[in-house]
């Protein structure tokens, strides 16, 4: 089996911008002139920005998206290789500190169009209803300025638009089913199922994960090659680059890639647009009626802090002093178990089975909130670092441990850590990046509840590994995802934006990304980030020009624009199951 039947794989077709093996950008992109004032500028076309630009373009607005990284042609730019995928991550300089410094870069920060959704593992669980009422129910953290039920219709929309594959009945939080069938189980999933079943823990198999279990439009189904977080060349795993950006371009959006925005410009208390360095390093300006910052939980506060100006000396939208505070990560301890028989955990998506049985606060435990348990599938380089961290392996010990790579199975904790004001993003004034822009200084400290939760959760995951028959179990402390640092809230004294991401201080300046999260639950944030973006889109479209003047806004909640879904997504998939709270909806 050394030669393909029809010769070596030929690769991309000349002259086509390929988004996967079949999908390509066939519509020419619109280009606005240098003096044109557009309706919206979005800074960062990642998980949130990718959805929002699609909504605004489809509604007919003039919108330009900026991204510091490239507009990937995935057939040419991406590789099926761990070391070769470094460029997918945000690797500009940042300084880390605090009592528990958080690894950035490939751990949690994306770069280029699609942003973090390019390298996420694509677990797509919803938050639970309790996540929106953490302070009311548990006396910790803070409540969201919205409820689960406000966001639920957008979860349902995005689960079709991504789309999400998963079981027909998902029992946790607000029980629901998924529009597309679950994936088959791989080696790590089999371990998780075996261990959980022995311990009487319910487990969800084959999802929820935003990876095609069947082909979907011009996007093929998953081929189980395991390189999800190196960027899915297959086109099966959702990123906004695949699911929303092509529709945005088709409807007249412009995306300027390799353009680093360094300042939000202000005049008379309103923003007038942004200044950026273009791909050649020239300083440019783009005028806009509304600016939306979608740079994720470090770059968003960095840009707004770096945009300080007369009247906004502490940074834009920072009258509360909360900008850059309450940055959150999730406890992501990786627990690896070695088995007598081979597992080969590099096959199948790293994300394909999980349990949320420990998600909610349990009065029998000595900490608030809870955690999920999920499969992971580290490739050799990541796994060698786990051997270094868990076993202290080096030298011959490393070589020996790694020869057993195929016998290990990796399962991880995903635990809710609470928002604390001493977990911050600030500006390191004496360190600048390659453009000369001051970089972010990220400090992180664990608090008592966080430590207890992580320790307890890690013990449960170890129990699962032992129950599944592992012969050796070791654990590594790790932290996943980045949210918070520009949180939404109903009180302008303790938050940066409203629930629609509108900043309390500047009427036409919005934030739309994970930095809005007041708390984070134990769900991977991707689905919630994209759902919030769709909701913010509906708000912006509904308000129109009213947004430019404080006090002229429409009151209430915008209608849900199901008609703005990307082509071929709305109403597809399995009809919904009846949930405990809502009447049956057949399709959308």
């Amino acid at each position: 089996m050394n030669t393909p039947l029809f010769g070596a794989f030929e690769g991309p077709k000349p002259g086509k911008h390929m988004l996967g093996p079949i999908q390509n950008l066939d519509a020419p992109m619109r280009h606005y002139g240098r003096e044109d004032e557009v309706d919206f500028v979005i800074v960062g076309i990642g998980s949130a920005g990718g959805v929002l630009i699609q909504r605004l373009a489809r509604a007919g607005f003039k919108v330009v998206g900026f991204d510091a990284g490239p507009f990937w042609d995935v057939e040419r730019d991406w590789v099926s290789d761990e070391a070769g995928s470094h460029k997918l991550y945000w690797t500009d300089q940042r300084i880390i500190g605090g009592s528990t410094p958080i690894a950035l870069g490939e751990n949690n920060s994306g770069r280029g169009v699609g942003g973090g959704s390019v390298h996420w593992a694509a677990f797509a669980p919803r938050l639970h209803p309790s996540d929106f009422r953490v302070y009311s129910e548990d006396g910790v953290g803070v409540d969201w300025p919205m409820s689960y039920w406000d966001l639920k219709p957008y979860y349902e929309l995005l689960e079709h638009e991504m789309p999400v594959s998963g079981p027909a009945y998902y029992p946790w939080g607000d029980p629901h089913g998924y529009p597309y069938g679950p994936h088959p189980v791989g080696g790590t999933g089999a371990t998780l199922i075996e261990g959980c079943t022995k311990l009487g823990i319910r487990v969800s198999i084959g999802g929820p994960v935003a990876i095609n279990s069947g082909s979907h439009g011009d996007r093929p189904h998953c081929i189980y090659r395991g390189f999800c977080i190196q960027g899915c060349k297959v086109g099966a795993k959702q990123s906004t680059l695949y699911s929303h950006v092509p529709d945005a371009i088709e409807h007249g959006a412009e995306i300027r890639d390799n353009c680093m925005v360094f300042r939000v410009n202000m005049k008379d208390g309103l923003t007038t647009g942004i200044s950026y360095y273009d791909a050649q390093g020239n300083e440019r300006e783009q005028k806009a009626k509304v600016v939306i910052v979608s740079g994720y939980a470090i770059e968003t506060p960095r840009l707004l802090l770096n945009s300080a100006c007369p009247g906004f000396e502490n940074g834009l939208a920072n009258s509360s002093g909360m900008l850059g505070k309450c940055l959150m990560v999730q406890a992501g301890d990786v627990v690896v178990g070695r088995y007598a028989e081979p597992v080969r955990m590099y096959k199948a998506p790293p994300a394909h089975a999980l349990t949320e049985e420990f998600y909610e606060t349990d009065p029998k435990r000595d900490f608030a909130r809870g955690f999920a348990i999920q499969t992971v599938g580290p490739l050799p380089i990541a796994f060698s670092k786990q051997m270094m961290a868990t076993k202290g392996a080096w030298g011959w010990g490393m070589r020996r441990a790694m020869m057993d790579y195929n016998h290990w199975s990796a399962i991880a904790l995903l635990g809710e850590l609470l928002p604390w004001e001493d977990n911050t993003v600030s500006i390191a004034k004496d360190v600048t990046d390659q453009h000369g822009i001051p970089v972010a200084h990220v400090r992180y400290n664990l608090h008592d509840n966080d430590k207890k939760l992580a320790a307890y959760g890690c013990k449960v995951v170890q129990d699962v590994q032992w129950a599944a028959g592992a012969e050796e179990v070791v654990s590594e402390q790790r932290f996943a995802h980045l949210v918070g640092a520009a949180r939404m809230g109903s009180d302008s004294r303790s938050s940066v934006t409203t629930s629609f991401g509108r900043t309390h201080d500047v009427p036409n300046l919005f934030i739309c990304d994970g930095s809005l999260f007041p708390t984070q639950g134990s769900a991977n944030p991707g689905l919630t980030i994209q759902s919030l973006a769709a909701r913010a889109g509906d708000y912006l479209i509904w308000q129109g020009d009213n947004i430019l003047h404080r006090g002229q806004e429409r009151e209430g909640t915008p209608p849900i624009r199901r008609d703005l879904s990307p082509r071929g997504t709305s109403g597809r998939g399995m009809p919904r199951l009846k949930s405990s709270q809502q009447r049956i909806e057949i399709g959308i």
Binding site: M1, A8, E10, P21, E75, V79, S80, D81, E82, H86, Y89, W90, T91, Q93, R94, I96, S99, T100, P101, A103, G105, E106, N107, S109, A121, G186, G187, I223, R225, F227, I229, V234, E341, R344, Y346, K347, Q374, V376, G377, L379, P380, I381, K385, Q386, M388, A389, K391, G392, W394, G395, W396, G397, M398, R399, A401, M403, Y405, N406, H407, R478
Partner: protein, 284 residues
């Protein structure tokens, strides 16, 4: 290995790449007693085991033989990694020789025939020269280039303190003793250096760099039975650790590390007291 040939290897790589499926016939080598000390041993008899073209439990498995099934961008990248070993541009000749000696203990390859060793120092040099930063820097640590130079000075200081010799002139056990003090977070010399950066941060940086180079190479994938690039073909056999038709069944053999090493015991870095962030790839 003579000084001249070491420098030659550093500057020119391990020789012409070979990207076909089958390993080349073993070169005839006359091993000196000093070399056999470095070889892994048969655990019951203690007899040194001859180096192999492909150590590990998957004889006959060659990821590179599947290269025609890979997409073009991946094929070009991986073949370039195998065939074109980057030149030494960051390290001075002295630094490169010290690095080579250190790396030979951090990821020893004495069980590999010389033609099948994986170049590590040139990849680390390239990363430092091209300034491929991980996207963050500890507030209590200098930039990685400066950290690497400081760390190498620290290693020399410890070697001088413990044995009164340069690191490269030490035997394998003594070299491991020097490195073990870094692993344990208890360097007995070089205080001024370790005040500028925590020793554990340096240990994690240099060992991570070695792992990133070694386990990025197809020979290492063959050794551990990893399937390698898998687009556009994908995998079919997801369960029970079964190999694909083009992969190989595991065939284990017994081996123990050479007696001339201290890197075999699994003990937490810094005795587990020191917090650090390995910064491994996102896994969820």
């Amino acid at each position: 290995m003579s000084l001249g040939s070491l420098v030659d290897r550093l500057l020119n790589g391990p020789g012409p790449g070979h990207t076909g499926g089958e390993p080349r016939p073993a070169a005839t080598t006359s091993a000196s007693a000093k070399d056999t000390e470095l070889w892994p041993v048969e655990p019951t008899t203690g007899q040194p085991l001859q180096p192999r073209a492909q150590p590990g439990y998957y004889p006959g498995f060659h990821t590179l033989s599947q290269k025609d099934f890979w997409d073009e961008a991946t094929r070009n990248l991986v073949l370039d990694r195998v065939e074109n070993v980057p030149p030494i541009r960051f390290f001075s000749v002295e630094e490169a020789m010290l690095m080579e000696a250190v790396v030979n203990r951090l990821i020893p390859q004495d069980d590999r025939e010389a033609a099948y060793r994986i170049p590590i120092v040139p990849q680390i040099d390239k990363k430092l020269y091209d300034n491929v930063i991980p996207g963050y820097c500890y507030e209590d640590m200098p930039p990685m280039q400066e950290a690497m130079r400081l760390g190498l000075q620290g290693i020399e200081a410890i070697a001088a303190h413990l044995f009164g010799k340069a690191f490269v002139d030490l035997g394998p056990l003594d070299q491991d003793q020097v490195l073990l003090t870094l692993h344990d977070g208890e360097p007995p010399a070089g205080d001024l250096i370790w005040k500028q950066m925590p020793v554990t941060h340096f240990w994690v940086q240099i060992l991570s760099d070695c792992c990133e180079a070694y386990y990025a190479h197809p020979y290492a994938w063959d050794e551990i039975g990893f399937g390698g690039p898998a687009y556009p073909r994908g995998y079919y056999r997801l369960l029970n650790g079964e190999p694909e038709p083009w992969e190989a069944e595991e065939q284990r053999y017994a081996w123990a590390p050479p007696p001339s090493c201290l890197s075999y015991k699994d003990e937490a870095i810094g005795h587990g007291d020191i917090k650090f962030v390995p910064g491994q790839a996102a896994s969820h």
